[in-house]
């Protein structure tokens, strides 16, 4: 192991131990590591934004570009300037224009992605599971496929019912958490499916965290072993 690797190995080990000390409780070591990390991340992100976004998209065309390129850059440049100066109390209102642009852009991408990227494909997948050709032509047990399709439909309808916002219409002043009759029944089934989904995700989250823990233990042991081996 070279000195360079040894130093970085030592830094990694030290930071690992400092952060893991949070298991005992919040302490000086953990805070040191956490704030160091925050500082490094903020610095790195700044460099990245300057190097990979502001420079190529804004500054480079402005400095080195042709006049036509400079014209194209004028609009984002104006928006950027407005965004920056709006951080000063005196020019507070000017930030609305770039923020409005950003909000509109995000909202549109949201709508398009939600409908064409999730809603429609997922609805189609539920419906396609009822294709008789698929049940009988593809290998496997047809009854199992039929059952799967029905369970899928019931699960989706149940989950959607679970999220029904409206409540049963009784006395207007009577606070209630109960959905209208039909939805309430389906929602009970939906609750089970919802729980199963969350349980599965929980298992995944724990797996990921566990792999990180195993990795940290391995890193510590490998460093100590190398150090003891004198290499």
């Amino acid at each position: 192991m070279s000195l360079y690797d040894l130093i970085w190995g030592g830094v990694g080990l030290l930071l690992t131990v400092m952060v893991l000390s949070y298991l005992i409780g919040d302490n000086l070591l953990f805070r040191l590591a956490a704030y160091l990390f925050v500082g490094v991340t903020a610095g790195f992100l700044s460099v990245l934004i300057i190097n990979q976004i502001l420079w190529p998209f804004l500054l480079q065309p402005l400095i080195n570009g042709l006049w036509i390129e400079k014209i194209w850059v004028l609009i984002p440049l104006t928006l950027a300037v407005l965004l920056v100066i709006s951080q000063f109390q005196r020019f507070k209102g000017l930030g609305r224009v770039p923020l409005a642009f950003l909000a509109g852009l995000t909202a549109a991408v949201t709508v398009g992605g939600a409908v064409f990227g999730t809603l429609i494909p997922q609805l189609r997948a539920v419906v396609n599971a009822f294709d008789p050709l698929d049940w009988y032509q593809s290998p496997g047990m047809p009854w199992l496929r039929i059952t799967e399709a029905v369970v899928m439909l019931v699960g989706v309808l149940g989950t959607l019912s679970y999220f029904h916002f409206g409540r049963r219409r009784r006395d207007q002043n009577d606070p209630s958490e109960v959905r209208p009759g039909f939805f309430e029944g389906l929602a009970k089934v939906g609750g089970v499916f919802l729980g199963m989904a969350l349980g599965t995700v929980f298992a995944g989250i724990f797996s990921t965290a566990l792999v990180a823990m195993i990795d940290r233990l391995l890193v510590i042991s490998e460093f100590v072993m190398r150090l003891m081996g004198g290499s």
Binding site: L36, N51, L83, A100, G104, V115, V192, G195, A203, S207
Partner: protein
């Protein structure tokens, strides 16, 4: 005009981008421009956010507030990383090691701490949630998934056991799909509210 202009900009930008899903071939270059401008603004917003972070820590140091010592650490780390990055560029081997050898151990260790938190939390399912259809579903889903993750059962390809195991794996998909559809619906409404100027976060509303 002061109020109308942001609304017009938000709606016009949004509707153009939305139209791009339908008339993509025709609008592509315009859409590309708008997206690039958006990226510039998000990047700049990130930079301004970092400036606020730095300002907060400078303020702490200047006013000798609680945690001022840690703020010194943040600022030193920030300045070193920023200056080194601007001089060396992120492609530099030392710079890469500097960033990754701090980020990786801290982030992975945070996840390791999380594993203990989740382990501890797993004791509290019934205590926190009680016996409800959802908590029972959660328990079943988690146990089935964890047991299958253990890979203690061996399945011959095409065997009945494998088919059942795959069915069990796919069972939570119904709930997941329901959630996905539901939240796509919610996302649609949230987005439309901005496009219709019902919500105007850029105006503080």
């Amino acid at each position: 005009m002061k109020k109308i202009l942001p609304i017009i900009i938000a709606c016009a930008t949004g509707l153009t981008i939305l139209a791009g899903y339908f008339f993509q071939d025709r609008l592509a270059p315009i859409l590309g421009l708008l997206i690039n401008w958006g990226i510039v603004l998000v990047g700049l917003a990130g930079l301004i956010g970092i400036a606020y972070l730095v300002r907060m820590h400078i303020f702490r140091i200047a006013h000798r507030q609680k945690g001022g010592f840690y703020s010194v650490i943040v600022l030193l780390a920030f300045l070193f990383t920023l200056i080194a990055g601007l001089i060396l560029t992120p492609q530099n081997a030392f710079y890469r090691d500097w960033v990754l050898n701090i980020q990786t151990p801290v982030e992975a260790s945070l996840l390791a701490v999380l594993s203990v938190t989740l382990l501890y939390a797993s004791l509290y399912l019934v205590r926190t949630r009680g016996w409800t259809p959802m908590s029972v579903g959660f328990l079943v889903g988690a146990l089935v998934s964890l047991i299958l993750n253990l890979a203690v059962f061996q399945f011959q390809p095409g065997s009945r056991g494998e088919v059942w195991a795959l069915v069990l794996r796919r069972l939570p998909l119904a709930g997941l799909r329901g959630i996905l559809i539901g939240m796509a619906l919610g996302g649609l409404i949230v987005g439309l509210r901005v496009l219709l100027a019902v919500d105007r976060p850029y105006e503080g509303e």
